[in-house]
Structures are given as structure tokens and as C-alpha cells.
């Protein structure tokens, strides 16, 4: 595998126009992979975010965060997939899309919950108390102070979840769906090793690309992180709410 010929084959696979067209072509698989990942993160975020906000803000039932996190790490995605496929078919929902979606959402929830919770929880309680003392409503405290200060950690959680989802979405190919995993699974079935490698390369590139994008976005969205500045910002928010 270390011969230059192998990588030449991989390059050749990636640059053959034929391999990009059709329902099993690279372009289709790439698009399927991206939107499956986005959908999974979207659903996971919609579930995880409110739960983590509630726990972090009210500081109640905090044990739940640890439980969710541990349960999440213990989940065997392959088992979920295998188990759900017959149900999906019987319910007329297709073969592999929804079982994979469930497995991906289950994987994405723990890092999102954990990071959002910690992000909220780490906000200096003094600031929060001061804000409440000045008459800010709970909602303003949450959205005006806690969430903005938690953004760096929330984005970090999104990055972790996104990486996991993009990498694991390759499993969809094992249960008859598409995505870049198709290149790996089908390549394996006929021992087309350049194809397998090309598939893996594409998944990794997608994951790294998305990670860099989210990193940049995170930096743009975070309030200035110098301690003084963020405290001042928070106090300013508090004052504005009252005055």
C-alpha cells in the first residue's frame, strides 16, 4: 500500500468524471452525507439545547447531565442501526435513513448537553445575582447574559458533535443508505482499495473542513473573552435592562 501507484489510483478514482455522476456517484453521496449530518445535528441541538439551558440556568437536576453524557458514550451505534432497520421498513420509512438518524442524534446529544450546561453554569454567579438584583427577568438573565457568555463552549460542543456525526454517518451505508460511507462499504465488497481510501479521505476532509468553519464561526460569535470586558458587557446588559 505504500507504493506510489496506490495513491495514483486514489487520485485517479477521485478525478474520473464517471465516479462523480449517478445515484452512487461522489457528488450525490457527498450531498447526502452533508445533509444527513446537518439534520442530525439540528435535531440533536433542538433536543439538547433547551434541556441544557434549563438545567444550567436553574441549577437543578444537574445529575442528569452526567447521566446523559455517560449513557451517550455507552451507546453502540451499530446496535441501534441493526435494531431499528426492521421497524423502519415496517413503518414504511425506508430502510437505513431513519435508523441512522436515530443513532447519530443519540451520539450528538451528549457533547451538546454537556458543553451547553457547563457554559451556562460557569458564568460568574455574582454577575447573575447582580442582574437579578437589578430587576432583570429570568429570561433576560438567560439570554442576555448567560447564553452570550456560554457561546464559546456551546460552539465547542457543536464542533465535537459535528465531528462525531460526520464520521459516524458513514455507518448509513451498512444499512442500505447512501452518504460517503457507500464508497467505503461498496469498495470493501469488491476490495477496491483506492475507492475505500478515497471514501475515507473525503469523510476526513469534510470533517476537518466543517471543524475549521465552526472554529472561525465560534471566534466571530464569542463576546471578547478578556475577563474584564465580558464582565463589563454583562453589567452593561444588566443596566440596560433596568434603565
Amino acid at each position: 500500500m505504500s507504493e506510489p501507484g496506490f495513491f495514483a489510483d486514489v487520485w485517479s478514482y477521485l478525478t474520473t468524471a464517471d465516479n462523480w455522476t449517478g445515484s452512487l456517484g461522489i457528488r450525490t453521496l457527498f450531498v447526502e452525507h452533508v445533509w444527513m449530518s446537518l439534520l442530525a445535528i439540528g435535531i440533536a441541538f433542538a433536543i439538547a439545547f433547551p434541556v441544557a439551558l434549563a438545567i444550567g440556568h436553574r441549577r437543578k437536576a444537574e445529575f442528569l447531565v452526567v447521566s446523559i453524557s455517560n449513557a451517550g458514550r455507552a451507546i453502540p451505534s451499530l446496535a441501534i442501526l441493526a435494531f431499528l432497520v426492521p421497524f423502519s421498513i415496517r413503518l414504511g420509512l425506508g430502510i437505513g435513513f431513519w435508523p441512522t438518524m436515530v443513532a447519530l442524534v443519540a451520539l450528538a446529544i451528549p457533547p451538546l448537553v454537556t458543553n451547553t450546561y457547563i457554559g451556562i453554569q460557569e458564568v460568574d454567579p455574582d454577575i447573575v445575582e447582580a442582574a437579578r438584583g437589578m430587576g432583570m427577568t429570568e429570561r433576560r438573565v438567560l439570554w442576555g447574559i448567560e447564553v452570550p457568555l456560554a457561546v464559546p463552549l456551546i460552539v465547542a460542543g457543536l464542533r465535537i458533535a459535528m465531528l462525531t456525526v460526520i464520521a459516524t454517518a458513514t455507518l448509513a451505508a451498512l444499512v442500505g443508505w447512501g452518504g460517503l460511507g457507500r464508497l467505503i462499504v461498496d469498495g470493501f465488497a469488491v476490495q477496491n482499495r483506492p475507492k475505500i481510501f478515497a471514501g475515507a479521505l473525503l469523510v476526513a476532509s469534510l470533517a476537518i473542513g466543517v471543524d475549521l468553519l465552526l472554529g472561525w464561526a465560534g471566534r466571530r460569535l464569542s463576546p471578547r473573552t478578556s475577563g474584564d470586558l465580558s464582565e463589563r458587557q454583562a453589567k452593561a446588559n444588566a443596566a440596560a435592562a433596568v434603565g
Binding site: S23, V85, P86, I89, I95, A173, G176, D186, A189, Q191
Partner: protein, 300 residues
């Protein structure tokens, strides 16, 4: 400082130990006739049952046997036999012959001779073939059959463009699958969904309407169990796929040949189909099914 140094040395030692352990491949013998044989099978019911039959019969004769019964495809098994990782594999005459570059054919004796030649250069021997035959079967549900009036593969010619085929991921590269359908029948499906090797995923997809035509194996018990209709191979795309063991010539001896030939002789298509059904429909273990057959036939 001393403590840090010690923990570093300990860590390095553990890593070295792990590397050595990983490098020392603990898997058994190389099967070069030293009483230790590795049986390889592709991960579908029939192949696994056959693999188990070979394994148990050889064990009863005193051989040390290792089982690798979950391999993915011929592309894995063949190189494995050549490299000595696998010694014995249950195969199908015509499909293997074509895979190795031969012409195939519909007369088993002819194809067997062809295969003998093709394998000689590869250090492999094909033993006697069984009367049991297992070919690709293109299968539809009863509803699909009556809706489009289908009873033979040639009936698909006009309407394949509206239908989806589901089968093993290697279908697009197999003569007896997609390329053959196009060449011999002029049939081109609208879409192909890669599923599994004649297994539960394909069965479920067909039963659930996710695919219109499924590729299953002709001896699959799931066909009858689900009331599927096998489209008749009226233009003879499928060929003489009689079951025959392929053995690495180095590992072969007369005793092994005798044992394996005995199994092939005792098998026929209806028997194989019934055994397959015990696994795929009754959910029994291939090892138990194989044991039952060997005992009933007086082979062990």
C-alpha cells in the same frame, strides 16, 4: 523527579509490551497440512452452513480446524486462500470460473474441468461438485409479479426502467448480476440499492417495498417463507453454479478430499434449501444445522 522518570519508563514499557503483543499474531496454524486447517466462508447462511459442515466433519476426523465464516466476498476469500490464510472454502463452479476469467457454462462437468485448469496456476484444487446448485435468483413480491405480469426475467425488459433492483454491493461488477442483465436481457434498472449478500436486509427491503426486484440465492428459504416469486431465468444468464469445495493444494490430502467429497455427494438442491431455511427462517445456528445434517447422513 525520580517518580516522574519511573512513570515514564513504566509507560514506555507498557506501550512496548502492547506493540509486541499486537505484532505476535496469535491466530493458529498456517494450515500447511500440519493438522490445522482454516475454513473460510462468505457471511451468508448457506456458505456458513457448508463451512460448518466441512469444519465439523474434519474435526471428527481429528483435524484442528479454525473457522472464518464471516468474510465479505470472493474478493476476500480468494486472496486469502492464495496467501495461506484460508485453506478451504465452499464455492460455486460457474461464478468462480467466470470470476477467474473463464467462460463459465451450463454444463457442470465442463465448467468443473475449466475451473480445475484455472485454479491449477493458483495453487488451488476444486474437489468433486455436488448436485446441489445455488444460483442468483431475481425475485419479486407476488404483488409486483401480478401488477406487471412477471414470471420470467425477460418480462422485465420493457419496465425495468421504472424499477429498483436491490442486492449485494458487488452486483454492478458481477457477470451474473447487473452487467449480465444488460447484456443477455437488455434489462437496465432505474436504480440499484446496495444491501447485503442475499441476506435479511434484501429480504426486508423487498417485502417492505423499498426495492422492486431483489437478488437472492435460489436456495434461500426466505423466498418461500415470504411468498416471493422467482423470475425464471429463461435466457440462461445463470450457469452451472454447483457447490464444490475449493482447497489450497498444499493443504490437501486424500483423507480431506474424501471427507469433503462425501459431504458434496450427500447434498442436493432441496436438502440445501431446507437447511438454509432452518437458519434464515427458523433462526437456528448454522453450526447446529450443519451438525444435524452430518449426523442424519451418517457422515459423523
Amino acid at each position: 523527579m525520580r517518580r516522574l522518570f519511573r512513570s515514564h519508563v513504566l509507560g514506555a514499557a507498557l506501550v512496548a509490551l502492547a506493540l509486541v503483543a499486537a505484532a505476535c499474531d496469535g491466530s493458529g496454524g498456517d494450515g500447511n497440512g500440519n493438522g490445522s486447517l482454516t475454513i473460510g466462508a462468505v457471511g451468508f447462511a448457506e456458505n456458513q452452513i457448508l463451512g460448518e459442515m466441512y469444519a465439523q466433519a474434519l474435526e471428527a476426523a481429528g483435524y484442528d480446524v479454525e473457522r472464518q465464516l464471516n468474510l465479505d466476498s470472493r474478493e476476500i476469500v480468494q486472496p486469502a486462500i492464495e496467501s495461506g490464510e484460508v485453506d478451504i472454502a465452499p464455492e460455486y463452479l460457474a461464478t468462480l470460473a467466470v470470476f477467474l476469467g473463464g467462460d463459465g457454462g451450463t454444463d457442470p462437468a465442463e465448467v468443473h474441468a475449466q475451473l480445475e485448469e484455472l485454479l491449477a496456476d493458483r495453487g488451488q484444487t476444486v474437489l468433486e461438485f455436488s448436485s446441489a446448485v445455488d444460483t442468483n435468483a431475481f425475485v419479486v413480491t407476488e404483488d409486483t409479479a401480478s401488477e406487471h405480469d412477471l414470471s420470467a426475467v425477460s418480462d422485465l425488459e420493457g419496465i425495468a426502467g421504472e424499477l429498483t433492483l436491490g442486492g449485494p454491493p458487488e452486483c454492478p461488477e458481477r457477470e451474473f448480476c447487473i452487467p449480465g442483465l444488460e447484456e443477455v436481457y437488455g434489462v437496465e434498472f432505474a436504480d440499484f440499492v446496495p444491501l447485503d449478500v442475499g441476506g435479511p436486509l434484501t429480504v426486508e427491503a423487498l417485502a417492505g417495498g423499498e426495492i422492486d426486484v431483489g437478488l437472492l440465492f435460489s436456495t434461500d428459504g426466505a423466498i418461500e417463507a415470504n411468498g416471493f416469486v422467482v423470475l425464471e431465468d429463461d435466457r440462461q444468464l445463470q450457469q452451472a453454479d454447483n457447490i464444490a469445495p475449493v482447497v489450497s493444494t498444499e493443504a490437501l490430502n486424500d483423507e480431506i478430499a474424501g471427507i469433503l467429497n462425501g459431504i458434496s455427494a450427500a447434498l442436493d438442491t432441496p436438502t440445501m434449501t431446507a437447511l438454509n431455511a432452518q437458519v434464515t427462517v427458523d433462526q437456528e445456528d448454522p453450526a447446529d444445522v450443519a451438525a444435524g445434517f452430518l449426523e442424519d447422513s451418517g457422515l459423523i
